[in-house]
Symmetry: C2
Subunit: 416 residues, 2 copies
């Protein structure tokens, strides 16, 4: 049984402390390392000052086996990290001809000339193992000091991801026997966290072996399970444990993989040979946006009309003016007519529509901010639901999007 | 001149280390504190283990005046933070009747009964100053130990924001003389970071007094300026310095406030009494989504057609089938016809259209992934541009959205 290596992630950047940039790199690194059997135990964020960097590296050396550092390797002159690294590792900068050639080539490809700052990126500490960064100009640098391994990456997310997944993880797998970490994901939708926990509490509350996380998202609640370094009975127990959960809450689980509800829905539509069109008002284009984030979505997604005005609901979606007059734009009747209209116009198998008051303005005496109607159609089968979301416009749009996708998912599971 | 207080932000949660949750709280806290004249010097992320929490609190006490802790105060049984806090502050849990009443009231309002876990939330350490959390059940807790102040908040972003802005910042302002921190923002679009830096390098590279950050985003590059504790000549210098930058790169600055390009564009349209309609293919609904994120956007945004199929481009946008035949769906000609068609259909003053190959599929011999055409119209004035984005579908959509908004912004500034 191999030891679980402890990692620390150090993010360097004044912009992170000032809150101008959200540190999403740390989450990516944490997930990828965990999948590989390495556990991040500490995260540290510091500014660009050399003394802070040295202190953070020293502190991390005392508690981690592997240290991943992001930021401070860019082409701007305020990046002092490389000199500081040299000090820490008792190293000096030398020019790396391979990196120089790569930087020249990359800039030429982008139609740009070589600036002194670019030239400086080919200077690397002589004690580092240098990894070519195929998607940017700053190379990856690995050091070893007193059996601790240090991995330096630029802070640009795309470049960090490239170096971690294409270079550092393969290097780690080749140089360490990484332990097994069993993980499993149950992705639920249509049930609140407290109710989900209530249904499962006799199973999860006193569980000692498997760690369980309830992770609420707009789209639903993720359940994540983890077991470190299991033996054979442990693996069996893990599977049985998840099976017990699955049996209890199966109807709310839409996926057991790292895919989003929109991707799952796309796979369902493809499988059933159905196409989809949208009539969005409340959700304002967000459903079209998330659906078209999925590669290949043009196979089943025909298009969408975002109809913000009454006139566009009549013109583009053939909503009856009398319906708008009698029930209002925010009504179950209008939602249904929008879905029918867009389905007909696009000749699609399925349709979804949203109408409501996203806020903060637009409320009336009888229709408060957060009120929404969402309709779904498959062929001639249709359903419409009333929702009462909150007062935050952006959260309302997200919850409306999630509710619409879930409504269609449920309707699809009910029709053969 | 008052001393700048040094803050540390500690985030507690295994889900943060595992990367299941992105720590966006830290950025929010950093920004709000900086605005108030408090500088975050360290960020720390740790798991839910009591020993880790104690160590992190001890370490922070040695280098910070103010310590902000998020996470670990929720109603789930694995939250051991409160007991650990009691240990660290030599305190014991007592029931707070005001908190108990608030929790009962809040649950009643949500139509829920009181669970033992909810009851436990009214237990607070006797040495804490307790702050009522109006938007959730876990109260805020403030401690003082050896002149260091500790502020505990739940990890739920909405609750953290509420406690920080409504309780802790007012408390800090009332109990400390906070120094002045001058900040300024120049929000640019339409120019790459390296070119922007090149134009400004004689001004910014050797600047010692004002700190300057170049912050690239999809929409453009933010320039953020900061001056700590300025005297009168310092303030004057700060203003003159920014004025010099403004004169150099004025054409790329779209805002000097914390507003996004879509909001700026909305203000421009409103000011000019113009309406907007969209024909999206490449951007797949993203432009409609970001535009409708702005409250009151229904004043100028009429609607959008996301036309993913050739047929929908013909039916909804009146694109000539011969144009599609001759030039293809991904062409300047089609982009222009899409903009014309949607402008006419919605009777809008302005129109934007996008067509292209977002990837990863869909490339042909002559049309690679990342190729896009974006057209803008104001009245009968129109423009179309060819773009070569990259290979990442999601980034392509974002860059296409940003380029479209910038194209319209420029066209608006050119027409009276």
């Amino acid at each position: 049984m191999s030891k679980i290596l402890a990692a620390e992630v150090i993010a360097i950047g004044n912009e992170l402390l000032a809150g101008y940039t959200i540190n999403s790199n740390a989450a990516f690194i944490g997930q990828k390392l965990l999948e590989a059997g390495i556990a991040v135990r500490h995260g540290t964020t510091i500014g660009d000052q050399p003394e802070e960097i040295i202190t953070a590296l020293e502190t991390a050396s005392q508690r981690a086996d592997l240290i991943f550092v992001t930021g401070g390797l860019g082409p701007t002159p305020d990046d002092l990290t490389k000199q500081t690294i040299c000090r820490f590792f008792d190293s000096r900068l030398i020019e790396d001809p391979a990196i120089l050639g790569h930087v020249e080539e990359l800039l030429r490809h982008r139609g740009l000339g070589m600036l002194p700052a670019n030239q400086a990126q080919a200077l690397v500490p002589d004690k580092a193992q240098v990894f070519l960064n195929q998607v940017g100009t700053a190379p990856g640098l690995r050091f070893e000091k007193e059996s601790i391994h240090f991995f330096f990456m630029p802070g640009v997310p795309g470049e960090m991801r490239h170096l971690l997944t294409e270079h550092y993880l393969p290097w780690l797998r080749a140089n360490f026997t990484l332990p097994e970490i069993r993980t499993h994901l149950l992705r639920t939708t249509g049930i609140a966290e407290s109710r989900l926990h209530d249904r499962l509490k006799d199973l999860v509350d006193d569980e000692k072996l498997v760690s369980i996380a309830f992770l609420p998202r707009y789209i639903g609640v993720d359940l994540r399970f983890r077991l470190e370094n299991p033996d054979q009975p442990g693996r069996q127990y893990f599977n049985q444990f998840i099976q017990a959960i699955r049996e209890r809450i199966g109807q709310y689980i839409f996926s057991e993989a790292e895919i989003e509800l929109e991707e799952h829905l796309g796979q369902l539509l493809k499988l059933k040979g159905l196409t989809l069109a949208l009539a969005e008002s409340f959700s304002g284009g967000l459903i079209a946006d998330v659906l078209t984030n999925i590669p290949g979505s043009s196979d089943y997604f025909l298009g969408s009309v975002t109809a913000y005005s009454n006139l566009s609901k009549i013109d583009f979606l053939s909503v009856n003016p009398e319906t708008l007059e009698k029930f209002g734009a925010v009504s179950a009747e209008t939602a249904l007519e929008m879905a029918r209209g867009v389905q007909k116009k696009f000749s699609s198998g399925c349709a979804l529509s949203t109408t409501g008051i996203a806020g903060p303005g637009g409320a009336t005496d009888t229709k408060p901010v957060g009120l929404a109607y969402i309709a779904a159609r498959i062929g001639n089968t249709e359903t419409v639901r009333e929702f009462h979301f909150g007062s935050d416009r952006l959260i309302n749009k997200k919850r409306g999007m999630a509710a619409a996708l879930e409504l269609l998912r449920r309707l699809l599971s009910e029709t053969r």
